[in-house]
């Protein structure tokens, strides 16, 4: 033992003691994020919940939805809207030559589920026994119902999720719910939500601020009732429910028709008395005005050129009668631009797949003179429900339930008088009135993303698109539903879940 160098051993011990001094703190490797909020501590109040409701709208106003993709998927794919492009994903939406990895089909699909997941988190994480939480839980239910209403009508049978994603399980067995199951889910959610939502969020001011109200839930519910009364669920008992719900909205006294049809589409007027629910777009982000603004065919005609991605259709223009204010309120026939002379639509754009077509008047406003400000962005949003739709739902449901009654015809005429169009007279058959109502949907709502959904529920989509000049190039009955995007299968979704035909 005397061979040992005690001094060195002592020194080593001192050093080890010194080192272990630094190891005292057990939680040295624990993470305590100071700038992050997680589901465990958020939301805890109405103020917190408002942030989530606001954040939830972000994917909706961006180009993955309202500012571009949704317009292609729900608008360009109908028989009323056309595109400027002559090839590529955009053109494919108009021609029905799209593939399963079309970017717009993917973005709408993904955005719907992204919003559903946020909405599920509101429903799951808010304390349902607290009074303040109820409108927000109802908001969550509204949002997810709204998104499922798109999924079921654009993609058909869909995967149904009603809880937020908390862990990723790649071995989970995934199935799709039928259209009927999804409609039932939506209707159940909205029936629960409608009375927990406020009449309006903004106090006495009835202005639409993008958050769902009782009116919004009832409109969506009415729409879902009449949609499930049609193709493919065909539950005709729902006609009367839709009728009642539309009447509830009319009786609420919260909304009224704006006197001037065309002015309603100005940005300054977009959240006023006729607006029940809309996608609000920040002025620095919105691309709709620029996307609908014409380009020129030859020079000097249009002062401030747009991208003209989305265009109207000449055939549709001709179906509007000249004394109907909605003709000029819907179509951009002459672009007025002081001090330059007006430009006729025959001078619009220079590469046209379909010849010269009128523009869409409903999205022309920038709410300023110098459109290049904000890098051509504007606050132009998409109106999801405006009050006029309650009248159309009422008219259509009344005609289905009680026949061509005065009640049904009055509802239509309320819209026609506002537009100074000829009145419909009493004494027509149920079929005749049905035909008139179908047309009225277009006169009132052309380019407001109603047409494709209507064609589907009326069961006429195959006939219409098979003979449409553009869709004829690619349409087949299985394309009434879009494909589940390829990206889902790339991420491991069972290929047998693809919609039939794709």
């Amino acid at each position: 033992m005397r061979n040992f160098d005690y001094k060195t051993i002592f020194k080593v011990l001192v050093v080890f003691t010194f080192i272990t001094m630094f190891m005292g703190c057990e939680d040295f490797l624990e993470e305590n994020p100071e700038s992050n909020l997680g589901p465990e501590n958020f939301p805890q109040s109405a103020e917190d919940a408002d942030l989530i409701v606001g954040g939830m709208t972000r994917p909706l106003y961006r180009s993955v939805f309202a500012s571009r993709a949704f317009v292609f998927v729900a608008g360009v794919s109908d028989d009323e809207m056309t595109v400027y492009n002559t090839s590529g994903d955009r053109y494919d939406m108009d021609q029905y030559t799209y593939t399963t990895d079309n970017i717009h089909i993917r973005q709408v699909y993904e955005t719907c589920y992204q919003v559903i997941n946020q909405a599920n988190s509101l429903v799951a994480y808010l304390p349902s026994d607290q009074e303040w939480a109820k409108p927000y839980i109802a908001t969550g239910r509204f949002y997810r119902s709204w998104m499922y209403s798109y999924l079921v009508r654009l993609y058909g049978p869909s995967i149904l999720r009603d809880t937020p994603t908390e862990e990723i399980d790649f071995d989970e067995e995934i199935t799709k719910a039928s259209e009927e199951e999804i409609y039932n889910f939506i209707i159940n959610d909205l029936e629960q939500a409608q009375n927990d939502l406020p009449i309006n969020w903004t106090g006495n001011d009835s202005r639409d601020d993008g958050r769902p109200t009782q009116g919004a839930a009832k409109m969506l519910l009415a729409k879902m009732y009449i949609s499930s009364a049609g193709y493919p669920v065909n539950n005709s008992e729902n006609w009367v429910k839709g009728l009642d719900k539309a009447q509830e909205v009319i009786d609420s006294g919260v909304y009224s028709l704006m006197p001037d049809f065309e002015d309603m589409f100005l940005i300054a007027n977009q959240n006023r008395e006729e607006s029940i629910f809309s996608i609000q777009v920040p002025i620095t982000e919105g691309l709709l005005s620029m996307s609908f603004r014409p380009r020129q065919r030859t020079s000097g005609i249009i002062d401030n050129q747009g991208w003209y991605l989305f265009c109207g259709s000449e055939d549709l223009l001709d179906t509007f009668s000249d004394n109907d204010d909605r003709k000029e309120g819907t179509f951009l026939i002459n672009l007025e631009q002081e001090p330059s002379p007006p430009a006729n639509y025959l001078d619009f754009r220079y590469n046209s797949a379909y010849g010269q077509v009128p523009g869409v008047q409903k999205y022309q406003d920038f709410d300023r003179d110098n459109i290049s400000d904000y890098a051509f962005r504007s606050a132009m949003g998409i109106k999801i429900f405006r009050y006029a739709e309650a009248f159309l739902i009422k008219a259509e449901a009344e005609n289905e339930v009680n026949g061509p009654t005065a009640v049904a015809i009055e509802a239509i005429n309320a819209l026609r008088s506002r537009a100074n169009a000829d009145q419909i007279s009493i004494g027509i058959s149920q079929d005749e009135l049905r035909e008139i109502i179908h047309e009225e949907w277009t006169f009132e709502f052309a380019y407001e993303f109603k047409r494709r959904f209507n064609m589907l529920r009326w069961g006429i989509i195959d006939d219409v698109l098979s003979s449409d000049t553009r869709a004829i190039n690619g349409y087949a009955p299985y394309k009434k539903y879009f494909p589940i995007p390829q990206s889902a299968f790339d991420s491991g979704l069972d290929p047998s879940l693809q919609n039939p035909g794709y």
Binding site: F18, F28, P33, G55, T86, Q270, Q305, R377
Partner: protein, 1012 residues
């Protein structure tokens, strides 16, 4: 056991005995001369009486004189670039010494992780960069010193902006989402800042490449390690060094673009353009002659200045090295520049024979004005170089009323390039401070304890103001302030035990490290400025806030490690290391990672059958195998979180900026990436060391790749960082050093070649992963231009294969290509939905159309010396790789003029020179290059001249840097990587994109180095 113990005892006794004898010795003076191998005196050699503070320095003639107060003592002779020699004095009073140059010596000491080793005893793959060779030619960034110097180390100037970092890859890319840059260890402290290193302050540099060398760095070692030591003062005369460099920089190559006259001709022919109606908005068009040369309008000949002063010396127990350095580099694009001031103070105090205390302090301050390059279009207004190449020459810079002219297409968001250069203030400032306090305690003859504590602080501050006149600021004026404060402390404890017993050498290392990194970031962005006058200095003028956020982030690392080495007769060598790392970044289930490595070497030249061989002086075979890790993800990635600060509107006209959205779900299993590497190599020296060869083969596999896995859409979450997938890199390296002539005319040459074969092995079940680089803003046809595919390397471009143009109606009828018209690009029908060509051009016809990884890279350096002159030529090459440039078909290049027209049908250039509205092979170019990185001629003034001037050395030189580049690439610079400053994933996989980069630069400088 008994024998061993008694041996230890005897050793201890001997040491004690020596101590006693030393203590009673008498005083004497020893003199002598220190010379190099060719018997030339070496001035300035540092001489130290071992274990004391007594020292001396040789004079101009290599003579020294030192007073010795003990008899059985040793003198230690050391000089930069020479092997330190320890000589017993014995009874001698005169002692002449010959010092061997480092390169000639096998006994060179090489720094390895947490220690050092003799080069001949190394069992792992380590490259040593000879710093002395690099004294000619300026290198403002430390990374440039490595360019082309070492096999397996690829340094590329992916961004030529002044002050921009270079990309260093050691043995390829291991990670997809993690940082692939090597770990920098400066003076023993992990995680150095490349910018903090001044090339003039560097004493030695080594690069650890294989797992055996890097595994001791555990979770930080996967990408290789660069170990640098900085200069220290020497006992003896005070020495002051001064160097100054000045010169000019120019754009190496301008793009050949249309003149006004040519563009007018094209516009007149364009059926979609009404000429002159469409240029009505332009009040003063130039319709003939050259027109505006937008490149000349934004480029300039830029100046370059660098001054460096260092003072070094030592008295008694104290040694110091201090330096200060100033760099001022203008950019070749107007308005861009880089200024850097940095300093260092290294002080070492020998408290006793056993205890040394050191303090190394370094700081820097940089200020850089930036211009917009390397970005998409969209609302950003376009990168300035692309705008310059696409703005029509018929547009004058200014309209008649003195305002900037806009683009011909008024709907375009693109800004006038001159307006962009003049009206966007983008100031990037950094302040950095690091102090390393360390002690070395020789606890006993064999045992050393090292402690060090490091504190560093870094502030990164970016202030930007975009004028109201720029469209990118939405015509509103926009200010953005972004400030990051990063504080780091690190602590290290090391115990090293070394022992030689007869023919057995062994060493044991035990270590402990802790690190904590705290950062705080503040961002404010606001717009709507009534006036541009105050810019970002008065953000309170803005009328709306676009973004405001603060982010706090903390991460910590706790580590224990050990290494054992053993050598028998310097012939059979063995090393083993292990490390345990605990990191806060990783999930609860995987906090700790364990990494180990082993290596073996056999010095065949020590065997009897080679020992007397006159050709082969040294031959060593070595092999290693081990694991390293990478923890390169951001903190908190394993935890669920809301993304805060989402912009939304409530329809009232004002913006809400505080929305919350769930974008991350918890991953309780998140952990390290692990790289397993096998290496086999040999070191060979021939003909008295005149030729040295190092060759290596390695095979690396990285598993548990951290990867943003795309989730099933119905989860509502886009992706999640998971440990999935694997990637392999197989490589071959060969390096040769040779002394070709070593008489009056000296010629040293060294070269290296590296081949890395990268392959993605697994992407977590997906076969293909389409990449969406920011090129998407060029249109929907450019949204997925890259692909990661299992079985293929990273860096693949994906798109259609161009097949000439449609020349006739028959061509058009032959294939169904949507939107195709005569004169357009025609694409090849590669495949259809059933895997065979179907006559339709659609997504099925897309394939891999190029790859951005080179087949091989090389470096080649030649040093010529004749009398006082020296010439150095350094070349770097990268062969067999592609770059994609989607702006090629949009800018106004001359090809446009030769495009298909009614009257010019015999051409393969499409109408208007437009190369297609989808990603296709027309945009891909072979970018192989050979760059003359440096051609430098220097003159060393002779000793007699220097003495007259009272100096100890004086040298002047001229250098041409990147002046000659051999390449077929038609863009500005083949080394471009526009996404090099993107996130790690973009940096790693979106390589080879030229998206409006800063142009390639040639520098011509003159320099002066002197010391006294």
């Amino acid at each position: 056991m008994r024998t061993k113990k008694s041996k230890i005892f005897i050793t201890v006794q001997v040491v004690l005995l020596l101590f006693c004898v030393n203590y009673v010795s008498a005083q004497k003076t020893v003199t002598g001369t220190v010379m190099s191998k060719d018997l030339k005196p070496i001035p300035g050699v540092n001489i130290l009486l071992e274990d004391t503070n007594t020292g001396a320095t040789t004079d101009f003639d290599g003579n020294y004189s030192i007073t010795i107060n003990k008899s059985k003592a040793f003198l230690v002779f050391s000089y930069l670039g020479y092997v330190t020699q320890r000589v017993a004095i014995g009874s001698k009073r005169e002692l002449d010494v010959i010092l061997l140059e480092d390169t000639e010596a096998l006994d060179e000491v090489v720094l390895i992780g947490y220690g050092s080793s003799l080069k001949k005893d190394l069992t792992s793959s380590v490259s040593v960069i000879d710093v002395k060779d690099l004294s000619t030619g300026q290198t403002p960034r430390f990374e440039q010193m490595l360019t082309g110097r070492a096999a397996g180390v690829n340094v590329s100037s992916v961004n030529t902006e002044p002050g921009a970092a270079l990309k260093i890859r050691i043995r390829g890319n291991n990670s997809l989402t993690g940082d692939n840059s090597p770990l920098l260890v400066v003076d023993g402290v992990l995680g150095g800042d490349f910018e903090a290193l001044n090339p003039n302050d560097i004493e030695s540099m080594q690069i650890l490449k294989d797992a055996s060398a890097t595994s001791i760095y555990g979770s930080q070692g996967a990408n290789g390690v660069i170990i640098v030591t900085t200069k220290q003062g020497k006992i003896g005369k005070l020495s002051i060094g001064f160097s100054s460099t000045g010169g000019v920089q120019k754009v190496r190559k301008k793009l050949d673009l249309l003149t006004a006259e040519e563009h007018v001709a094209i516009l007149q022919d364009d059926p979609n353009f009404d000429f002159p109606g469409d240029i009505d908005g332009l009040t003063n068009p130039i319709l003939s002659g050259e027109g505006t040369d937008w490149q000349d309008e934004i480029f300039q000949t830029a100046s370059y200045q660098n001054y460096h002063i260092d003072v070094k010396g030592g008295v008694g127990n104290l040694r110091a090295y201090t330096s200060i350095d100033y760099l001022n580099q203008e950019g070749v694009i107007k308005g861009s520049d880089y200024k850097k001031l940095n300093g260092r103070a290294n002080i070492s105090y020998r408290a006793s024979n056993k205890l040394t205390v050191k303090n190394n302090l370094a700081f820097y301050n940089t200020e850089s004005n930036q211009v917009r390059t390397n970005e998409g279009y969209g609302s950003l207004g376009g990168p300035v170089t692309i705008n310059a190449a696409s703005f029509s020459p018929i547009i004058p810079v200014f309209a008649e009323d003195g305002t900037y002219n806009g683009p011909l297409n008024t709907a375009s968001i693109r800004d006038n390039p001159v307006a962009l250069v003049d009206n966007l203030d983008d100031l990037y400032t950094q302040n950095y401070f690091r102090n390393v306090l360390s002690t070395k305690w020789k606890m006993s003859k064999n045992l050393t304890y090292d402690f060090s504590y490091t504190f560093s602080n870094r502030t990164i501050d970016n202030k930007r103001y975009t004028s109201k006149i720029l469209r990118r600021a939405l015509n509103l004026g926009e200010a953005r302030l972004d400030n990051r404060q990063i504080n780091t402390w690190q602590l290290r404890n090391l115990l090293t035990y070394k022992k030689n017993i007869d023919n057995h050498n062994f060493s044991v290392l035990l270590g402990h490290e802790m690190l904590e990194n705290k950062s705080f970031r503040t961002i404010i962005e606001a717009s709507g400025f009534p006036t541009d006058a105050l810019g970002y200095n008065a953000i309170q003028l803005a009328d709306q806030i676009l973004e405001y956020s603060t982010t706090d982030s903390v991460n910590s690392l706790l580590s224990f490690f050990t290494r054992f080495t053993y050598g028998y007769k310097d012939k059979y060598l063995l090393s083993f290391s292990a490390r345990a790392d605990g990191s806060s970044k990783f999930a609860a289930n995987n906090k700790w990672g364990y990494f180990s490595a082993g290596s073996l070497a056999w010095v065949a030249s020590e065997e009897p059958f080679l020992k007397e061989n006159s050709t082969i002086n040294f031959l060593k075979f070595r092999t290693s195998y081990g694991e390293t890790g990478s923890q390169a993800i951001n903190p908190y990635q394993s935890l669920a979180a809301y993304s805060l600060g989402q912009l939304y509107s409530d329809g009232s006209g004002s913006l809400n900026t505080n929305g919350a959205i769930i974008d991350r779900v918890a991953n309780p299993n998140l952990k390290w990436e692990t790289t397993v590497q096998f290496d086999f190599g040999l070191d060979l020296e021939l003909f008295d060391g005149k030729i040295g060869i190092v060759a290596d083969y390695y095979n690396k596999q990285t598993t548990d790749l951290l990867f943003n896995r795309r989730l099933l859409p119905h989860t509502g979450i886009a992706d999640q960082v998971q440990n999935i997938g694997s990637m392999e890199n197989i490589g071959y390296e060969f390096a040769l050093d040779a002394v070709v002539f070593d008489k009056d005319f000296k010629w040293n040459t060294s070269g290296n070649i590296s081949i890395v074969k990268n392959k993605v092995l697994d992407l977590g079940g997906e076969d293909d992963l389409f990449l969406v680089p920011p090129s998407g803003s060029r249109g929907s046809g450019f949204s997925t231009t890259g692909i990661l595919r299992v079985g293929e390397p990273i860096g693949n471009f994906f798109g259609y294969v161009a097949d000439g143009i449609f020349r006739s109606q028959e061509d058009l009828d032959a294939i169904d290509q949507p939107g195709g018209v005569i004169g357009d690009v025609r694409y090849k029908d590669i495949s259809g939905p059933d895997g065979v060509p179907d006559g339709i051009i659609d997504d099925n016809d897309r394939k891999i159309i190029g790859n951005a990884l080179p087949d091989f890279t090389f470096g080649f350096s030649n040093d010529f010396r004749y009398k006082n002159f020296e010439l150095n030529v350094l070349m770097q090459g990268s062969i067999g790789f592609d770059v994609v440039r989607f702006d090629k078909g949009r800018i106004l290049n001359k090809e446009r003029f030769d495009g298909w027209r009614e009257d010019n049908t015999d051409t393969n250039i499409p109408r208007n020179g437009f190369l297609g509205n989808v990603a296709n092979s027309n945009y891909v170019e072979d970018a192989s290059f050979v760059k003359f990185k440096n051609i430098s001629i220097g003159y060393n003034f002779s000793t007699s001249t220097i003495e007259k001037l009272g100096l100890s050395s004086l040298k002047i030189y001229v250098s041409a840097i990147d002046a000659i580049v051999l390449t077929k690439y038609t863009g500005y610079d083949p080394e471009i990587n526009s996404y090099s400053s993107g996130d790690n994933f973009q940096q790693n996989v979106s390589i080879g994109y030229d998206s409006g980069g800063y142009p390639g630069i040639s520098q011509y400088v003159m320099g002066l180095n002197l010391s006294f």
